[in-house]
Chain length 423, copies 2
């Protein structure tokens, strides 16, 4: 198909009739398909079933009985494992429970109620703002919204969030206390922050002395095509003279089982001290047996990387399928643009302005569930109503094939109808 915007009104009407007919024939089939959430498929989970095995050892290397209370920041071998895997100092790591999102929520609550580094608790301030590179992860934005933190949209570029925008904002407004980042294979666009972006985040001048980066490296080892290397945010912050600026999050939720793995938070010694002072009130400790269970299944960082290659091989055909169909259906039409991520869990598309909601609604009525339009933006408001997140991992290949083909018809139909309305 060539550029649809150049068609005459008559040609558009003809195209609309053809697309409507295709759409109705899909709709009559009563599909029930889900491309809405970043969930692994059963075939991926099957590759993790070794993590269900009997736990053979309940003593840590240092002889601690992991069946009993204690060890607030995680067993040493788990911290060392992640230190090697992610190039982090094990001393700066605290192992959490089954959810890194929970660690993020808890941490922001801590900053709200108790503040950090002698600064006022954020809840005592008239206004607290956070930078939200968008499109981004809906659950991040839900946390800041729930806590009454005002979000400011930051545009995404192929190198990460627009650093010019960010630097200008943080330099002058002390109410801006932080930023959400998914630096590798960002949710939903699959963008990888460039070395320059990471360097600038670490060294930029912030009016707020307690400006903090929420560095959610959710897809840090989730490569699909090759292996993109992310610059070290701790190095950047240290080089910039801002050692306490970053909280780094990671979890095994998409390595072993979602919601049944282990998570971590890594941060400076000063920040970790504050963290533990809160954690020791909040809990007696996280699940050490699950830490041992994780290590039994994946004894070394190398074993984990080999496992991730298997998972990546399981996911790659799905990404290839979606990208291939999008290319075939939309190249040159001007109706849709999209990213081609080399890892992570999502593909983001942009329809014509004002067509995202209509597309999602058409798909829903034909039985294909997509992430809600606008979900990837603070307050669910996509300023141009164009972004849609496609989550290709959960359906089978056959289901995905059907779902993405229907999606194409819906996106085209919404686009053509918009162009017609403008004629």
């Amino acid at each position: 198909m060539s550029a649809v915007s150049e068609l005459s009104a008559g040609e558009l009407r003809q195209l609309e009739r053809e697309l409507s007919a295709s759409y109705e024939s899909y709709r009559s089939r009563n599909l029930k398909l889900d491309m809405s959430r970043g969930k692994p498929a059963a075939s991926q989970l099957d590759l993790c079933n070794g993590a269900l095995d009997k736990l053979e050892t309940t003593r840590t290397a240092a002889g601690i009985d992991a069946r009993n209370y204690g060890v607030l920041d995680g067993i040493p071998e788990m911290r060392e494992f992640f230190g090697k895997l992610l190039n982090l100092d094990p001393a700066n790591i605290t192992i959490g429970g089954n959810s890194s999102l929970n660690l993020m929520y808890d941490l922001l609550v801590q900053l709200m109620l108790f503040g950090t580094a002698g600064n006022a608790p954020w809840s005592k301030l008239d206004k607290v703002k956070f930078l939200a590179p968008a499109p981004g992860y809906d659950r991040h934005f839900a946390i800041t919204e729930k806590l009454g933190i005002e979000m400011i949209n930051i545009d995404m570029t192929p190198n990460g969030p627009d650093m010019d925008q960010i630097e200008a904002l943080v330099a002058k407004d002390p109410a801006i206390k932080g930023i959400w980042c998914v630096p590798l294979y960002s949710n939903p666009q699959g963008i990888c922050y460039s070395d320059e972006t990471v360097a600038r985040l670490g060294k930029m001048k912030c009016a707020a002395p307690d400006f903090r980066i929420m560095w959610d490296n959710a897809y840090g080892v989730h490569h699909i095509d090759g292996e993109t290397i992310l610059a070290d945010i701790f190095d950047s912050c240290n080089a910039g003279g801002n050692p306490d600026r970053v909280y780094y999050f990671f979890s095994t939720s998409k390595i072993t089982f979602p919601g049944a793995g282990v998570s971590l938070i890594a941060t400076s010694a000063a920040n970790k001290k504050e963290l533990l002072a809160r954690l020791t009130v909040e809990t007696i400790g996280y699940d050490k047996l699950n830490q041992l269970r994780t290590l039994q299944f994946l004894p070394t960082p190398e074993a984990l990387k080999a496992h991730m290659k298997k998972l990546g091989a399981e996911i790659k055909p799905k990404f290839d399928l979606v990208l291939g169909v999008l290319e075939k259906e939309f190249a040159g039409t001007g109706l849709l643009s999209w990213t081609a991520p080399k890892g992570g869990y999502f593909i983001a598309v942009d329809t014509l302005d004002g067509c995202a909601k209509a597309t999602v609604e058409l798909a829903a009525q034909a039985g294909v569930k997509l992430t809600g339009a606008g979900a990837a933006f603070p307050y669910h408001r996509d300023p141009r109503d164009r972004n849609i997140r496609i989550a290709p991992t959960f359906p089978t290949l056959a289901e995905l094939d059907e779902a993405i083909r229907l999606f194409c018809i819906c996106a085209k139909l919404a686009g053509v109808r918009k162009l017609l309305a403008e004629k």
Copy 2:
């Protein structure tokens, strides 16, 4: 020994010399024993090793793949299990992670930040107060202290906290927002709330419309000698016209493995709705595989009760040993009083006024670690410096025998020295 307070100064001096000699002979042995925390012994944990087995089924009865994300309030069979075990409505139960303490902290943070039932968030008020039946659980008091909630000591009676004190306070002071309760085999005295106490808590008139009971039924099935039945706090609150007054907590931490089990919070439908509205922001869900693992090891409430009988049989000789030695060493002396719990994890003793710190310090110098004096009181301040919590479960019987004998010498020595100083 007869009443020591009636001895002459000369007799006291003689006794002090004898006790000092015994103490020094213990001290020269360089003991290293711990009676400080309510931890199960390795022999108890060995009885739970079945919970380490391979997880055979990852599907719930309703066919949900528990390996994946979802099911925020816990898998139905886990809620039904606890419903039967504890006589709770499964619909009112939310299953948590590995720590009920964490659920309590999170809930109080929720009330601080967001409030409940349309009332102002507690963090927006000039002053928030909580009733603290004392002696009580140090980690409860640590949470309210951390959150800046002022605690008011309530005396304990053999029937639970002093309800006359409580009713008088809550009727007139709207700043009093709640109370901590360990209603069965209280920590540290092992006191069980009487039916009347439970009824009065449910129906008492509170000046604060959002007064809440933190009902930590930590030892709800932890019987050692017979089975004490606790009245139903939900029935009491409903009968009193206060259906939203109570949050009920429980966990399997001392049923399977401390810090590796599952927890729950049960509360009214209205409260659960608020709870889930916060939880859905905080996490994608708790560890469902650990819920299935718990059910695989303990498939029915009856299986759990049989298991608790085994654990109780493991603990009983330790309680008997401590109580027997205390009786033999202190009966009639007037130097020590104590409780004789029929369940739970602790024995609480009262020394002469002003002798708890000295006793704990003497024991520490001879290598026996006790819970810090004052730990069972808000702000670590025991107004009479007399209460000491003895945690007999963790040491072996032989270690416990040695530790409790040394304890007796320390408590006597501190008491005799005090009486001498007053002569």
